[in-house]
Structures are given as C-alpha cells and as structure tokens.
C-alpha cells in the first residue's frame, strides 16, 4: 500500500454516507482538504488585515504583497476594465495556490490533482467569461469566431476551427493544472519508494532527488496557480476588449 504511488490520490469517505436524490454528497478527504485550504486562507487574510498599521508587520506585508501581485497582474493582462473582477480572480488564485501548497505537506491530500476539481473550476470560468462577453457585446461577441480578412470560401472552415479552439480553453486550462500536480506528486512518491527499497546503502541518491523535487514541486505549485489565474485574465481580456 505504501509503495503504490497512486494510493495518495484515492478519495475516501469521512463520517456517515450522505445521499440526496441518489447523488452521493458524503464528506470525503478531498472536501476536508478544501475546507482546510479555505480556513487557512481566511485565517491568513484576517490575520494580515487585523492591524492596519502604516508600517506593516509581517502578516500584513504578506497579504499586501499578495494583493498587489494580483492587482498588477490583472491591470497588465486585462486592462483597467477588468477591475470589477478582481475579487473573483483573487479568490481563484489564492484558492488554487493554497490547495497546491497544502498538498505539499506530508500526509495531506492534493485537491487539485483531481481532474474533476480543476475541470469544474475551468468550466465555471469558461461559462462566466462567455456570459460576460455576451453581456458586454451582445451578439457582437460571436465576431470572435469570425476573424476579419478571411476569404469567404474559407470562412466556414475557419469558424469551425475558431469554435473548437474556443471550446478547448477549459480543457487545456484544467488539464494543465491537474497533470502538473499529479505528475509531481507521483514522482515524489516514486522516489520516496526508491529510498525505502534501496535501504541504507543506496537510498541516499533518491533521497537527495526527493529533496530537490520537493523544492521544484513548491515552485510548480505556485507557478500553476499563477498560470491558472493569468489565463483567466487573458480570457477575460478577450471577452472585455473584443479583438483578435
């Protein structure tokens, strides 16, 4: 069991089985770690904003850096029109970041290593961005699928290609996060298994790899949360300022 690198991804029920209309909504370890991440975010941000000093203490400084980081990212990629969506992108980034980081703790469960979690996030973003686009531009939003300067003969084909390209957004967004997290954690577990099986004599090499990989994984955890958020900004930019 311990040597199976995929064992860490298994979802199991905690507490009683809850079923509503045939749908199993029992509390699992995945939901537990989502709750842990959400509570950690609330604690972190409420601690950071408790004292509003002119000269910030460490917690306040951290949350201010986080705020500035996202604000700058949004204004850089999506322009000033995207300001109203700051709360959404901020919570999205912080949630993905904390889920990834909580997953780096030993004995924990990485929520974002399950495609269903990332896909639901991505589909939600996709639908929200589409609705925003239609609200802002009406049916003019469909111009996104009809690029200008294309010969009429090729237009139907190009439109189909554009539609598929648009539909592939949530897939690439979710698969990227999920694959990165799952591959990284599997690799860590595999190298951990090598340490055990090679024992005291040969186990030092995989152990050092394991240490290096942990550092890399923390980088990937941050980077993927960043990529997830910045792509949301780019999609939002497409919807707000219609141009191709």
């Amino acid at each position: 069991m311990a040597t199976n690198p995929m064992h860490q991804f298994s979802v199991h029920r905690i507490g009683p089985e809850i079923k509503i209309a045939g749908i199993d909504i029992s509390f699992t370890n995945a939901s537990l770690f989502m709750v842990i991440s959400a509570v950690a975010i609330c604690l972190f941000l409420s601690l950071g904003t408790k004292q509003k000093n002119l000269i910030p203490n460490k917690m306040q400084l951290l949350s201010e850096i986080l705020y500035n980081f996202i604000a700058k990212m949004i204004s850089d990629t999506a322009g000033s029109k995207a300001k109203p969506y700051f709360p959404f992108i901020f919570s999205l980034f912080v949630f993905v970041l904390f889920c990834n980081m909580v997953g780096m703790l030993p004995y924990s469960f990485t929520v974002t290593s399950h495609i269903i979690v990332t896909l639901i996030l991505a589909i939600f973003i996709f639908i929200a961005v589409t609705i925003i686009g239609f609200i802002k531009h009406g049916f003019g939003y469909l111009k996104l699928f009809v690029p200008s300067g294309v010969p009429t003969l090729l237009l139907p084909l190009i439109t189909i290609i554009e539609i598929i390209s648009y539909l592939s957004r949530p897939v690439s967004l979710s698969v990227r996060l999920f694959a990165n997290m799952m591959a990284g954690h599997t690799m860590l577990k595999v190298f951990g298994g090598f340490v055990i099986s090679l024992g005291l004599l040969g186990g030092w090499l995989p152990l050092s790899f394991s240490v290096a990989l942990t550092g890399l994984e923390i980088l990937v955890a941050f980077l993927q949360a960043y990529v997830f958020a910045i792509l949301t900004c780019i999609y939002l930019n497409d919807a707000l300022n219609l141009h191709h």
């Binding site: 598929i164 390209s165 539909l167 592939s168």
Partner: protein
C-alpha cells in the same frame, strides 16, 4: 509633523517607481518548463475537443466514422492555431 512630510516624499518616490515599472512591462514569465508545458496542453486539448465533438456528431447523425476523422483534422488545425497564438503572446510578453 516632520515624519508625515517624510512619509509623503517616500510615497511619491514609491508611486513614481510603480509607474515606471508598469510602463516598461519587464514582467517575469516564470520558468521555461512552464511555458513549454503550456504549449503542449494547448495543442493536445484542441485535438481532444475536436475528436470528442466529431464522436458526438457521429453518434447523432449515424455517420461513423466520417465526422470523427474530419473533426480530428479540424481539431488539429485548431490546436496549431492555439499554439501559434500562445507563442505570439509569449513573444509579446518578452
């Protein structure tokens, strides 16, 4: 009072710094591995979506296997389009 004046000048300096940094747009784009992976998923996702659309339409219209073949190729084209767009965006960022 003096402290306040000092703070004001420092605020001014910080604000001007913020302005100059945002105009030069010398943003770090993360690691190269990340961008390579980004392009890879971009290509694969469009091919997968195209194939799935072809499969669904095939079962609707009972035209197996023609639409899945056509949509596989259209999906590949969409994937390449995605890759070109992502690469262009990366170039603009640098």
């Amino acid at each position: 009072m003096e402290e306040k004046e000092d703070f004001k000048t420092r605020l001014k300096i910080a604000k001007s710094k913020l302005k100059s940094s945002s105009s030069s747009s010398s943003r770090e784009t993360g690691s190269l591995m990340g961008s390579a992976f980004k392009i890879g998923t971009e290509l694969v996702a469009a091919v997968a979506v195209g194939t799935i659309i072809g499969f669904i339409l095939d079962t609707w219209f009972d035209t197996k296997p023609w639409l899945i073949i056509i949509f596989f190729f259209i999906g590949s084209a969409a994937g390449m389009l995605n890759v070109i767009r992502t690469a262009k965006r990366m170039q603009k960022e640098n």
